[in-house]
């Protein structure tokens, strides 16, 4: 994208004043190289979002933004229900509440290395990953509704988790306002055998080592030291979320038109928050958030079980679990006034700064852990929310490296087998049912995650705490 169409406010802030149907400015946080590498569609989509009714302050794109559908992936937008604000199924995405959880193991790299291979094989065998994998849990109608209402709490009550996790899961593990009765039978049917499965695409379970520390004081509060081993899981609400997204997108195209909302792109389909469909979607979407929270809790439980077999004297403690495809009601101060806004984060991580009351006591003085997935080779980052994030983008930050290249192009450039071999030579064990899937997710197909998090830090969205390098990657 040519940055010339934007006004450069500072090193990492690019602003486009409203024109035409735009109600607010579009603001992209990125350094010049990142913005130049972005597809023109990112700008177009950020501008399109700025035209939606009730949008507050600005339509934002994070440093990892790339071409999505409707909203850019890496898009953040807040809407005020009292000013005609909307909720958009496309603004949340198909994989509702897709997110990341990182667990501390209390182990060092040296503890893992002697059994790295058998641990990788064990995780791959026991954690269902990819198309055609089968979970061991089947839910009947009563269990399904209990799961959709209960989230991670439900999983823990069923014996698949640890009560101590709850304070470190967003919403304390249970999203309020979930309405399982607003989730269609087809969506439930799609989820019946999916609990405790990882999914495919860019979803993964990784065993990672702390490779670099940027802020030792915060790292200490997070429980991170150099060479520590952590387990990170990236996945979402599986088939249930996909089906809810699909169904409401269709319904909202019709509702938007009937409500007199002009959509520059049908994928931006939305409904007024204060409408029957808007409320029904929120109830279903919150149920899908619970599904994702339960799913990650169960996968965390499986990881614990496998680690307990290899390291009986160590237990996995949850650092944090945070989603990056959601719409949440949050109080934010806009122009000096506190307002309850519906914040859409589509491929963007919530990043509360220090002192936020939703954070557990242990984390409150420093801020929320912001978990950034990298991919296989280059590694991942743990950031912490900054006080400035609130005013910059409603306390939001990037969510990953962001793709630099389509799957299509990646397939032409890399062989999955060779990637697996090359990474093994670097001490990174990849386990996946599909070598083609590995090629599509090649480390080189992603942007430089280091540049993305540096831009997020420079922009005041979140600050770097640690870099993680993978030791084992189970890829769906």
């Amino acid at each position: 994208m040519d940055p010339a169409r934007f006004t450069r406010v500072d090193e990492t802030t690019w602003r486009l004043e409203p024109s035409g149907a735009m109600r607010v400015p579009a603001i992209i946080y990125a350094d010049e190289a990142l913005i130049r590498a972005m597809d023109d569609k990112v700008g177009e989509q950020a501008i399109n979002v700025a035209t939606l009714p009730g949008i507050v302050q600005a339509s934002y794109a994070m440093p990892d933004a790339h071409w999505g559908y409707g909203f850019p992936i890496g898009g953040v937008a807040a809407f005020d229900p009292d000013r005609g604000g909307v909720v958009s199924a496309g603004g949340v995405g198909f994989d509702i509440s897709c997110g990341v959880r990182t667990m501390l193991t209390g182990l060092k790299v040296a503890d893992i290395l002697p059994m790295q291979r058998s641990l990788a094989d064990s995780l791959f065998r026991q954690i269902p990953a990819g198309v055609g994998s089968k979970g061991s849990i089947t839910l009947d109608a009563i269990d399904m509704d209990a799961m959709l209402a209960g989230g991670a709490r439900w999983a823990i009550e069923r014996g698949w988790g640890d009560t101590r996790d709850l304070e470190r899961v967003e919403e304390q593990g249970q999203m309020a306002g979930a309405r399982p009765e607003h989730v269609s039978e087809r969506a439930k049917e799609r989820q019946r055998r999916e609990m405790g499965t990882l999914g495919s695409g860019n979803h993964y379970l990784e065993v990672q080592a702390v490779a670099e520390l940027f802020d030792t004081e915060v790292a200490e509060v997070f429980g991170l030291a150099l060479d520590d081993v952590v387990v990170t899981i990236h996945c979402g609400s599986r088939g249930l979320g996909h089906q809810i997204g699909t169904e409401f997108l269709k319904e909202m195209v019709v509702v938007a038109e009937a409500s007199g909302i002009t959509l520059p792109d049908r994928e931006l389909a939305c409904a007024p928050i204060n409408s029957e469909v808007g409320q029904r979607y929120l109830g279903a979407m919150r149920a899908a958030i619970n599904c994702a929270l339960a799913n990650r809790e169960i996968l965390g439980h499986y990881a614990r079980r496998i680690f307990a077999h290899f390291f009986p004297n160590h237990e996995l403690r949850l650092l944090f679990d945070v989603s990056h495809n959601t719409c949440k009601v949050e109080p934010h101060v806009v122009a000096g006034k506190r307002r309850d806004l519906f914040v859409h984060r589509k491929g963007a991580t919530r990043a509360f700064g220090p002192g936020h009351t939703s954070l557990p006591e242990a984390l409150r003085p420093v801020g929320q852990p912001v978990l950034i997935g990298g991919r296989m080779g280059p590694g991942s980052y743990i950031l912490v929310g900054e006080p400035t994030g609130e005013q910059k983008a409603f306390s939001s930050a990037c969510h990953g490296a962001g793709r630099a290249m389509s799957r299509h192009a990646a397939l032409k450039q890399w062989s999955g087998r060779k990637i697996v071999d090359d990474l093994a030579a670097q001490g990174i064990l990849i386990r996946s049912p599909s070598t083609r899937g590995v090629a599509e997710e090649a480390p080189g197909a992603y942007k430089d995650v280091g540049a993305v998090v540096a831009a997020a830090e420079h922009a005041g969205l979140a600050r770097r705490v640690a870099r993680l390098r993978p030791l084992i990657c189970i890829k769906g």
């Binding site: 559908y69 695409g201 699909t246 793709r403």
Partner: protein
């Protein structure tokens, strides 16, 4: 509009790039045939291995226009793939007005043989286009979230 088409003998579809996901485009002498070919492209997102037509599944869907009907069709196929744990290798589509009836032939996913690369989550309205060119050749395209 009343279109019927048998499954085409040779592949007339392609994938086109999208930053995060994948674009599908099917071609045909009729819209129905283009829909069938796009469904072949959908299967090819998951596997490059031949899918055997062992089991037959019927689907129906409805939408106010041909483009929305195309998204409905792909989503119906995605749904059957997900809940049955199957892949489909042959498709027959009949379109009558705003309704579509489709027959899918396929088999359960065999992880060893199909080596599934990724799972389609849903068809989107992005880059959605169903149209005939001036020679009357149809194409049907959209981005699928994977």
């Amino acid at each position: 509009m009343n279109q019927t088409a048998a499954s085409a003998s040779k592949a007339r579809w392609k994938h086109f790039p999208h930053d995060a996901d994948v674009g599908l485009r099917g071609f045909g002498a009729t819209a129905a045939e283009a829909f069938e070919q796009a469904a072949q492209a959908l299967t090819a997102v998951v596997t490059q291995t031949q899918v055997e037509p062992k089991v037959q599944v019927e689907v129906t869907c409805e939408a106010p226009d041909l483009e929305l009907l195309f998204v409905e069709w792909l989503n119906a196929v995605i749904y059957e793939m997900a809940v049955r744990g199957m892949l489909f290798g042959r498709f027959a589509v009949r379109i009558e007005g705003t309704r579509l009836a489709g027959t899918l032939w396929g088999e359960p996913v065999d992880v060893g043989r199909h080596a599934p690369a990724c799972e389609p989550k849903g068809a989107t309205y992005t880059a959605l286009k169903v149209a005939a060119d001036d020679k009357g050749h149809w194409s049907a395209a959209c981005i699928v979230d994977v």
